[in-house]
């Protein structure tokens, strides 16, 4: 039996010492927000924080994290109130959503290290895979949460072209208005 500290709570689990933390969280602790994607630390769907540091839990033996503070997506905030979670909802970032727990945990680690990240910081830190291709909105949502957004948009740039060839801007839902040529 191993004792763990998950999201501020002490839990005891029955797992072999080499079992990846990911599967202990999912199958023994019952926290399924952390996802399996590859099992070889390539995709980041399993991202959690260990003593505040970003880790890919699919290759982390559970014995190595006994006594450390483990934070999963379920423990990032009590009520989805973390600025990143709010920005993710406001900008409709997720598509299928499967990778988004890991994306948000990676972004949270980035903001802890660099509260006002540049695009380059985001490029370097956000290496999780998303097959739906939500990257443009992830970038915008990180800037929104950090207060470093240049505009009010959700990262998507949309040109609406009418039948006459006239263009309109798309303002609702915070979608970026088109560049000046559409105004």
């Amino acid at each position: 039996m191993l004792s763990l500290n998950v999201n501020g709570k002490a839990v005891t689990v029955d797992a072999e010492p080499g079992t990846p933390l990911l599967w202990v969280l999912r199958e023994q602790v019952g926290l399924t927000g952390t996802k399996y994607g590859c099992g070889v630390a390539q995709c980041g769907s399993c991202s959690v924080h260990i003593d505040g540091q970003l880790m890919r839990s699919c290759v982390m033996p559970v014995s190595a994290v006994a006594g450390k503070r483990i934070t999963t997506i379920e423990g990032l905030s009590a009520d989805a109130s973390h600025p990143l979670q709010k920005a993710w909802v406001e900008f409709d970032v997720p598509q299928c959503g499967y990778c988004q727990s890991g994306q948000i945990m990676a972004a949270a680690a980035l903001l802890r290290a660099k509260p006002r990240p540049t695009d380059k910081d985001i490029d370097d830190a956000m290496t999780n895979i998303c097959r739906c291709g939500t990257y443009q909105r992830i970038r915008a949502a990180i800037h929104k949460a950090a207060g470093t957004a240049k505009g009010s948009g959700n990262g998507s740039v949309v040109h609406l072209v009418g039948e006459t060839g006239a263009s309109a801007t798309l303002a609702a839902n915070g979608t970026d208005a088109s560049p000046a040529s559409d105004a």
Binding site: V40, C96, L160, S178
Partner: protein, 748 residues
């Protein structure tokens, strides 16, 4: 309703479901079997088009107004959805269409999923449940809008009846019905119970709104399903937990067509948590344990003997050689053949010939294949994520041996679909076979990433030889396209191949308008397909055959424009006079891109247009390539004319997604074959585009409001050729083989 199960029916797979329309819904076949295998389930239905009378109450006891709409006393409006949600936004879009006609309060809308079992029990009142081919909205829009309109009419009639006034004197907005003459109002929730008892209006009396007047549909409404995706609370099929549940890890013969000979279960039965080792079928073994990790650990330790068979000699080089024979063979059929293309090219003063190649691609959904089955003597249930719930139900019934009426599918929103979970329910059958060996015990089978990569139904491998002739002025006078490659239909739907002619592999080159028509008219044109099948199973992959055919034609058009000394846009325009919609979206994108305007030094543009899924797409890329062959896409505009726009914000999300999916393929994507098996079995070898590599995408939406086109797939076919054409402009020569990484390019 009568249900009969007939063994050995010829109806198979999707073809069976397609048959429903031609039989006027009086009889249809739900089938999940691949060609020649298993049995199909014939379901005779006495009543015809659905049983609207068999009303259901929802969880709160509120009765339904009709199959699509439930209004609760507190005005909460429940919209039923039957298509699968895999991130593409279809659920929200369908709800917008229902609510537009219903005139309800959008802020009070919630969604309710319908199961395949319920649909069957109500004589398919909700229609076809499959979700593929970018048909989720365009294939449902008419009847869901009618459902919303009919519910509105019934609610208003109920109010009119209560007030004893003519219904024509009433108005409605945001779910509040008003009678101006008497200054009375009533909320939908107050008349819903009375409305549910009324006879539905005659279909002919339902008038749908002009889409140009939409207030809820057509607008960038927020998705209805986002909140549980940001806090870990959403339950995907991989997250299912049931009392007493066991977990299964599976291994299939790594060589397609090989067989499971034996395994030594004694070696692993004593390992922690192991409950059993199961021969699943002729190719698959499973370990069942209390947790999946323990099952997988034991499976990795299990000695297994495979008979890999003759396919173990096949590799990518032998497949490529096989396909090359199809570029010049005389067994091809011509789908388009007018004028005399071969003669025109032979006699042309300037000629060009090029051979392009594209590889196998895996879908690589982020959530791998997962299915939980609980099978008892008289009940079969699965918890799964599928794009085709009725096919899944049929697979469950076939594989369990239980009647359809005793089976149920609990579908979950998918962790990615992309076509992987629409055709063959291979993993569902495995799960049910495992479940049968643990009666009454739910068993969750999860494929490892390695299994998922190695046992996909891949985007088919193909090669394309394009030949063309230009006259002295540089006008294209003859075009000859020969595609050689694997056929999806030959593997999955042979009934769709008529007289040996599989037109599906020529998607995007078709002469018929409306779905995937070629956008050019040339004086002489011949387009042919030579089928070259292999042992690797092919399947539909987001965008299907438009993804490689778009590359072939659109990159070759740029080669021709260069040979003709013409601007690539002008060269295309000259051939598109008979294709105004193709041209319309191309012009819209070119204008927004500022085509022809000066660019900073070292930046080059590329352009492309193509058609698929009834929508017209075009793209312009701005790219630099430095001396180290590092490619940077600075800006990528993608345009669509999808006819009607239901949610422009979600169209933009899908367009961005098609860029990530399409450029991942163009940059890195290939599944190679060695010793008969797939080499790229995880993301370390099967590279996926990351955030830093994602171009800044601009979406151009140019709807013409006179047809219904798809959104999820169409734009993917122009992303890669636009970027490839910009790279060719930058380096001064075309790139004809994908992926680009194999040509020494990297991406920044």
């Amino acid at each position: 309703m009568t249900t009969k199960i007939s063994k050995g029916s010829a109806q198979v797979g999707n073809a069976g479901i397609d048959t429903a329309a031609s039989l006027g819904r009086r009889h249809f076949i739900v089938g999940s079997a691949m060609a020649g295998g298993g049995l199909a389930l014939g379901i005779s239905i006495a009543g015809g088009a659905g049983d609207a009378a068999a009303q259901m109450v929802d969880a709160t006891g509120a009765p339904e107004i009709n199959a699509w709409v439930v209004v609760r006393p507190d005005d909460t409006t429940v919209v039923r959805v039957v298509r699968s949600e895999m991130g593409q936004g279809t659920h929200t879009g369908l709800a917008q269409l229902v609510c537009e006609e219903l005139e309800c309060d959008w802020s009070k809308v919630t969604l309710e999923a319908v199961t395949a079992g319920r649909n069957l029990a109500r004589k398919r009142v909700w229609g076809d449940m499959s979700t593929g081919g970018s048909r989720g909205i365009r294939g449902s829009q008419d009847y869901v809008r009618r459902g919303g309109a009919a519910a509105r009419m019934m609610l208003m009639q109920a109010a009119a009846d209560g007030w004893q006034v003519p219904v024509g004197e009433l108005t409605v907005a945001n779910g509040v019905i008003s009678h101006a003459a008497s200054s009375r109002t009533v909320r939908y929730g107050q008349v819903a119970t009375a409305a549910a008892k009324l006879t539905p209006p005659d279909a002919k009396s339902i008038k749908l709104k002009d889409p140009r007047a939409w207030k809820i549909a057509g607008k960038p409404m927020r998705r209805l399903d986002t909140a549980p995706k940001v806090d870990g609370s959403k339950v995907y099929s991989i997250d299912v937990r049931l009392p007493g549940m066991l977990n299964a890890a599976v291994k299939q013969c790594p060589v397609f067509g090989g067989r499971l000979v034996s395994f030594d279960q004694a070696k692993v039965m004593g390992m922690p948590g192991v409950k059993g080792v199961v021969r699943v079928n002729d190719t698959t073994v499973a370990v069942v344990a209390d947790t999946w990790w323990r099952a997988k650990t034991a499976l990795d330790a299990l000695p297994i003997v495979w008979d890999e068979g003759p396919n173990a000699k096949v590799n990518s080089a032998s497949i490529a050689a096989h396909l090359r024979t199809g570029l010049t063979s005389d067994d091809a059929f011509a789908d388009t053949d007018y004028g005399d293309a071969l003669k025109a090219i032979a006699g042309a003063p300037r000629k060009l010939e090029a051979v392009y190649t594209t590889p196998y691609l895996a879908h690589a959904t982020m959530e791998p294949m997962v299915c939980t089955a609980r099978i008892t003597a008289d009940r079969g249930e699965i918890w799964v994520a599928t794009q085709n719930q009725e096919s899944a139900l049929a697979a469950l019934a076939e594989t369990s041996g239980l009647p359809l009426a005793q089976c149920e599918v609990y579908n979950h929103d998918l962790g990615g679909g992309f076509g992987r979970r629409v055709t063959v329910p291979d993993f569902i059958r495995q799960s049910v076979l495992i479940g049968r060996q643990f009666p009454g015990v739910p068993v969750k089978m999860i494929w490892s990433r390695e299994e998922d990569q190695a046992h996909d139904f891949y985007r088919p491998v193909s090669q394309c030889k394009l030949s063309a002739g230009l006259d002295a002025k540089g006008n294209l006078t003859g075009l000859h396209i020969r595609v050689s490659g694997q056929s999806i239909n030959a593997a999955l739907n042979p009934a769709a191949i008529k007289d040996g002619k599989d037109v599906r592999q020529l998607q995007g080159f078709w002469k018929e308008p409306g779905d995937a028509q070629i956008g050019y008219t040339v004086p002489n044109m011949r387009i042919e397909y030579a089928m070259r099948n292999t042992h690797v199973p092919p399947g539909p992959w987001r965008g299907v055959n438009t993804t490689q055919n778009g590359v072939y034609l659109e990159c070759f058009m740029d080669e021709l424009a260069k040979l003709a000394g013409r601007d690539p846009l002008e060269f295309r325009r000259a051939l598109m006079g008979s294709h105004p919609k193709h041209l319309g979206v191309l012009n819209a994108v070119a204008e927004k891109a500022g085509w022809g305007k000066p660019l900073p030094k070292g930046v080059f543009r590329g352009i492309a247009q193509f058609m698929g899924y009834a929508s017209y797409s075009a793209a312009v890329a701005e790219v630099t390539v430095n001396a180290k062959r590092q490619v940077k896409v600075h800006r990528l505009l993608l345009g669509t004319d999808c006819g009607h726009q239901v949610n422009p914000d979600q169209i933009a999300a899908q367009v961005e997604g098609s860029v990530a999916y399409g450029l991942t393929a163009a940059y890195f994507g290939e599944c190679t074959v060695d010793k008969g098996r797939i080499v790229e079995t995880n993301f370390d070898r099967y590279r996926i585009m990351k955030l830093a590599e994602m171009p800044k995408v601009e979406t151009v939406i140019a709807p013409t409001w006179d047809f219904w086109g798809g959104v999820g797939e169409p734009t993917i076919c122009v992303a890669a050729p636009a970027v490839m054409n910009a790279i060719a402009a930058a380096i001064g020569r075309p790139v004809r083989n994908l992926p680009l990484k194999n040509e020494g390019f990297t991406f920044i």
